[in-house]
Structures are given as structure tokens and as C-alpha cells.
Amino acid sequence: MGRLLLCGKEAQHPYVVEDLDLRIRSAEELCYYIYHNVALLPDGFFDERLLRFLEEELEMKETAEKIRRFCHSESDEDNTLYMLLSENGFYRPEEMEEFRARLAMRRRRNGPEKTKDRGDALVFQERYRSALRAFRSLKDRQGDARITQDFYVSVLNSMADCYGCLGEFDKAYECLVMVYEETRSMEILKKMYEVCNLSDIAFPDCYANRIPSETMRRWERSFQTKVAVAEQRAQENPVMECFLHDPEKAREELCAFADAEKEKYRKMLE
């Protein structure tokens, strides 16, 4: 059965999540942020800043009072997160159970695993620089007994993806080489080949010799197809359409597009 969810007050002064450069203005947005970013929630999430926001901006004094009374430990914090989302009613019961399960899983993760989850969540948000900071902190802790070789390799793989998205192909390549040396995976070798094609890095013969010629030809075709698809998508961009057919409107659309892309790029680098 459908529902109309009555929204609460909107804040005059938003709650800022600095990691994501996010401004939250309502209880619904807060619940959405919590539900979709469990991995990014810091320890001590329910600090005075958040509680003041709930009380003064959203006029949720009772809720803030409840949080102050009950939230003393990590498990308390999980229960409090659950309570906050339940009271708001934004998510259905089955979604709340799934949320509870994710909270329980998070509680079972050790420190390095939580950091990796945080990095992966930041990659999903296209915050590549922030993600790299998290991954580098793990790379520097290679001696930690909790960091297995497989775990270390997955961290390097994620770092390679981040560098690739930032266009820093030399660093991406370095990470991929380390991964390949551990795993000897053909998938990783293919990624290395593609990174070299995207940049001016020469694909070393010592690796090229390990690839059968038929496979190499297939990789080459696959790469060319990907390039063609990307070029086609760029042509089909509505801004490009506008530029070709309506020069008057083009300037406006291009400015808006450029602003949006700049903003997106700025967030990637934070």
C-alpha cells in the first residue's frame, strides 16, 4: 500500500558532513544519509553538534533527549541509529531489518576492515582522494596482524581504481603491478594493459610475453570498443546536441555543465 510521508521542519542552518561536503537540512535527509552511509559514520556520531542540530534546527527535542539518555557505547550507538530511523518512519520494516543486519555486520568488522569499507564507500561517492587517504592508511599498516595478504591486495586494487579515475595512470599502474606480482591474475594483467594504452606508459615485454597473441588481439579489440563507446556517449551528451543545433542556448547549457563537472571534480579531489 502506498504512503505519503509527512515531512518535518527544514533547517535554516544545515548540518554539514565535511567528508562528503554534504549539507543536511531535514530529518528525512539525515535518515537517508545514515541508511546509505553506514560505513562512513564516524565513531561518536551522536555528538553535541548533531544533537543541537536535532533540537534547534529540526525541533526534535524529545528525540535529542532520548539520544542523550541512552547513547553511551558502540552498541548503544547502533541501537540509537536504529531508533532514529524507526521514529522517522522513512524506511519500511523490511528495510529497517536490513539496516539492522548491516549495523550488526559493521560491529563484527575489525579496524582495518572498517577502514576498507569506509574507503570503498568513498569510492562509491566518487570521493577518490578521501578514499585514497583511507587506503593509504591501511597500506602503511602492512605489518598489522589483522591485515592478511589477500586483504592487502584488495586494498592495492582499490587504490589502483582510484588513481585510474583521477587520471594518475602511473600510480595506478604501480599499484596494479604490485597486485599482479602477488596474484598473477590475467584480469589484473588486462587492467595493466589498458592503463598503459590510456597513458604513455610502455607495456613491458616481460608482461606482454605472458599473454597469448589471440588473447592480446581480443584485449585490443575490447579496448577499442570501450573507446568507441565512450566517444559515442560524449557525442550523445545533450550539451553537445545543444551546441550543434542551438548555439544560442549552448552557452548557457555549457556553463551549467562546466560548473557541474567542476564541482564533481572538486569533490573527487577532496
Binding site: 502506498g2 504512503r3 505519503l4 543536511i24 535527509e29 524507526s86 518512519g89
Partner: protein, 427 residues
């Protein structure tokens, strides 16, 4: 609200205004005398700005100032407001709203000074027929005067009569209460009755303009008076002979000396009925209404129904937190122009906003549906919509839904959905 302030009923007619007021705890409103002239309780709707100064005169003083050459008079203010007109005084353009603001300010200043206070707890303006433009202008003017929202209301003369009649002793409204109002606007007949056996009980009033009425101007001659007496006698015989009437009220400047010019109709009227002449009836009724507005819930055990009041309850089923509840968007008995609901909501697996419309008379239910398929984002819950619902006339209910996006997560689109629905009144 400030309960120590004045409670004011302000009768704003086409050509003049009257004021009645009291304080919380006082039994009866008192009519305010603007001057000590022949008609002290009437203030003409005229205004004059003193030349070279930021000083305004109203009523008779405005005419006097104009005669002395101190400024130019502007009258028929209500007409100017209705036409959204303006006036140019000393080379400066004053909108209808400006003029109304200065008029109300000056007309209230004498009252506040006489009562030794600057506080107004509640003020109700009463008009023959409230019109949206006049209502907006009154709201704007009183806001400019610094009166907080919720302090100011507007009602019709019919509703004002209803409040007046029901505020009298019970024996005076056990059966019908009627009113004949004779003024330059003509002869109007009002009738108030209470309907029991409904939940809650209903007090209903109606008004009709009597075509066979006359202008008070004819009362200046003896032949005119005889004619007027005959007309009134005929009216009363036709309208009241078969009705059980507890009380009859006479008001308006035309009825002031009715015992002199209308001996026949007065004699007929007083047969088994109690008859009262109340000079400031509408202002007094508005004052009673203003006092009632100070209570969180009306002190009268009746739902008031008259022209301008909607006779339906309109509700919307919503989730507040995890609880489903019926949100009342419009309550039967409210003035249509007072209905204005603004909410923000999120849609979850719904394709329309569905209002339930319940008629008060027979409790039948209907539905009003505002489809949301013009918003392409219905598949996604994370989007906030703003809904504004109000009546734009007594029978037309208008709903506007606007896309507000979802904060920094998802931007808003330009889509706005507006639908209007005719909600006919039951006869």
C-alpha cells in the same frame, strides 16, 4: 496571544466603519465613539493627508481638513481596494493597500488611546461580502501595523450576525433570530437558527437582499416614510407570519428612528416577538467572534454555518513517523478564505495525492485525486514535494504540488502540478 489587549470588532462597510471592543473578562463589547457629533459611532471611509507633513486625517476630520485646504480627501476606500486602485497625493502614488493601512491605523489610534493601551489581543473585520482582494489588503495592512499572524480575521456580516445572536440569552435564540438591516446598501434580511440532533449542533445563518427594499434617503419626507412603513409591513407579514421567531433585531442607520416612521410595521413586529434596535450589531458580533478566536477551541457548542463557510471536511491520509493519521486540510464550518494548508511530503509507492471529502450534512464521502505522474521521479522515494491546498472561491478547491528535490542528494525539477476542483454546496 496577548489576552490583556483589546478585543475588537471592526465593521468595514462601503462608506463608513464602526468599532466595538472589550477586554477579556468584560461581559459586553462597548461601541467606540469616534467623535461627539450627531452620529458618533460612525466613521466615514475617507482619508486626507496633510500637505507637507506625514499626518493623516480620517472621517469627518478628513473632510474638514480638505475644506480648510490642508489636503485632498480620498473616500470610498473599500471601492478603491476592490478595484486595486491608487491615489496620487502631493505627487506621491499611494496604493489601495497604503490608503487602507493609514485609515485603519488612524481609526484604531483613537480607540487605543481612549482605552490606555497599545495592545490588540484579537481583531475581527466584518464585511458585507468578503472578497479576496479586500481580505489580502486587510491582512497586509494589519501586518504592517505589527499585528501578529493569528490575531486578525475576516468574517461576513452574516457570520457576524450569527455570533451576535448566539451570544445573547438563550431564550432569544431558542427559535429563529432574525435581523433587518437598512442602510445605503439597501434592505438585508438575516436569519439564524440552531439545528440540534447533529454532532456537533449547528448554528446556521443566511442572508438575503430584499428587492422590494428601499434606500433610507426616502425617509426624509413624510410620503417616503409612509411608503417605507408599508413596504416593511408587507415584508414582515410575508416573511415572518408562518415562522416561530424568538427575537428580531433592527440595525443600520435607516432603522434608527423606525418607531417614528414605521409605527405599523413595528406594531406587527412586536406581536409575540421581542424586538431590539442594535446600532452597531455587526461590529458587536465581530467583537464576540474576536473574543472566541482567543480560545484554542470555540467556546460555543455549535458548528457555525453560513455563506462563505465550507460544508465539507477535507482530509489527507499521511504517515507521521510510523503512525498513519488523517490530516485535516479543511474543516467544515471554516470560512473558505481561511483554508490554507501547506505541507511537505515524500511519496512512497504512490502515484497520486488522494483527499477524502466528507459532506457534513449527510456524512457522504467522496475523493479528490491529484495525480503525480507528471513528476518523473515517482519511482524514487527520496524526493520532497510541497503541497499547498486552499479554496480560491467558496466552491473551488485548489491544490498545487511542487517538486523540492532532496537536498544535496537530488536536485529539484521545475515541474509544478496544479489542479482545481468544484466542491458544490448542498442546498
Amino acid at each position: 496571544m496577548e489576552k490583556n489587549g483589546l478585543i475588537i470588532g471592526y465593521d468595514l462597510c462601503k462608506d463608513f466603519c464602526r468599532i466595538s471592543c472589550f477586554r477579556d473578562g468584560e461581559a459586553e463589547p462597548e461601541d467606540f465613539a469616534f467623535s461627539d457629533n450627531e452620529n458618533p459611532y460612525i466613521l466615514h471611509n475617507s482619508i486626507c493627508k496633510k500637505k507637507g507633513a506625514d499626518q493623516w486625517f480620517v472621517g469627518a476630520q478628513a473632510y474638514e481638513a480638505a475644506l480648510m485646504g490642508s489636503g485632498a480627501v480620498v473616500d470610498k476606500l473599500l471601492k478603491i481596494v476592490e478595484m486595486n486602485g491608487f491615489s496620487t497625493l502631493e505627487g506621491k502614488r499611494y496604493s489601495a493597500e497604503d490608503l487602507l493601512y493609514y485609515f485603519i491605523r488612524e481609526s484604531l489610534s483613537g480607540l487605543l488611546k481612549s482605552r490606555g493601551t497599545n495592545e490588540i489581543a484579537s481583531i475581527v473585520f466584518t464585511l458585507q461580502e468578503p472578497e479576496p482582494r479586500v481580505i489580502d489588503a486587510l491582512n497586509a495592512s494589519t501586518k504592517r501595523l505589527g499585528l501578529p499572524e493569528g490575531t486578525v480575521h475576516v468574517i461576513s456580516h452574516t457570520e457576524s450576525f450569527l455570533y451576535f445572536a448566539i451570544s445573547q440569552k438563550r431564550e432569544l435564540w431558542t427559535n429563529l433570530s432574525v435581523l433587518y438591516d437598512l442602510s445605503a446598501n439597501g434592505l438585508h434580511y438575516y436569519e439564524m437558527e440552531t439545528l440540534r440532533g447533529m454532532t456537533p449542533n449547528v448554528a446556521r445563518a443566511k442572508c438575503s437582499f430584499l428587492e422590494d427594499g428601499f434606500s433610507p434617503a426616502i425617509l426624509s419626507s413624510s410620503s417616503g416614510q409612509r411608503l417605507a412603513d408599508n413596504i416593511m409591513t408587507s415584508c414582515i407579514d410575508r416573511m415572518l407570519s408562518k415562522k416561530v421567531v424568538s427575537s428580531v433585531y433592527l440595525s443600520g442607520n435607516g432603522m434608527e428612528k423606525c418607531q417614528e416612521w414605521g409605527p405599523s410595521f413595528i406594531k406587527l413586529l412586536c406581536q409575540r416577538r421581542r424586538v431590539f434596535y442594535i446600532e452597531n450589531l455587526f461590529a458587536k458580533g465581530a467583537a464576540y467572534a474576536a473574543a472566541d478566536r482567543l480560545n484554542p477551541v470555540s467556546a460555543y457548542p455549535f458548528r457555525f454555518m453560513c455563506k462563505g463557510h465550507i460544508d465539507v471536511d477535507i482530509c489527507l491520509s499521511v504517515m507521521r513517523g510510523s503512525n498513519r493519521q488523517n490530516l485535516c486540510v479543511a474543516a467544515g464550518g471554516e470560512n473558505w478564505f481561511d483554508v490554507h494548508t501547506e505541507i511537505d511530503f515524500i511519496v512512497d509507492e504512490e502515484d497520486a495525492v488522494r483527499f477524502t471529502v466528507r459532506r457534513l450534512n449527510d456524512k457522504t464521502d467522496g475523493e479528490i485525486i491529484v495525480p503525480l505522474d507528471e513528476f518523473k521521479k515517482l519511482g524514487r522515494r527520496e524526493n520532497r514535494y510541497h503541497l499547498s491546498a486552499k479554496f480560491i472561491s467558496e466552491e473551488i478547491f485548489s491544490v498545487t504540488v511542487t517538486d523540492k528535490g532532496f537536498g544535496d542528494f537530488y536536485p529539484a525539477s521545475d515541474v509544478v502540478v496544479n489542479r482545481s476542483f468544484r466542491i458544490g454546496k448542498e442546498e
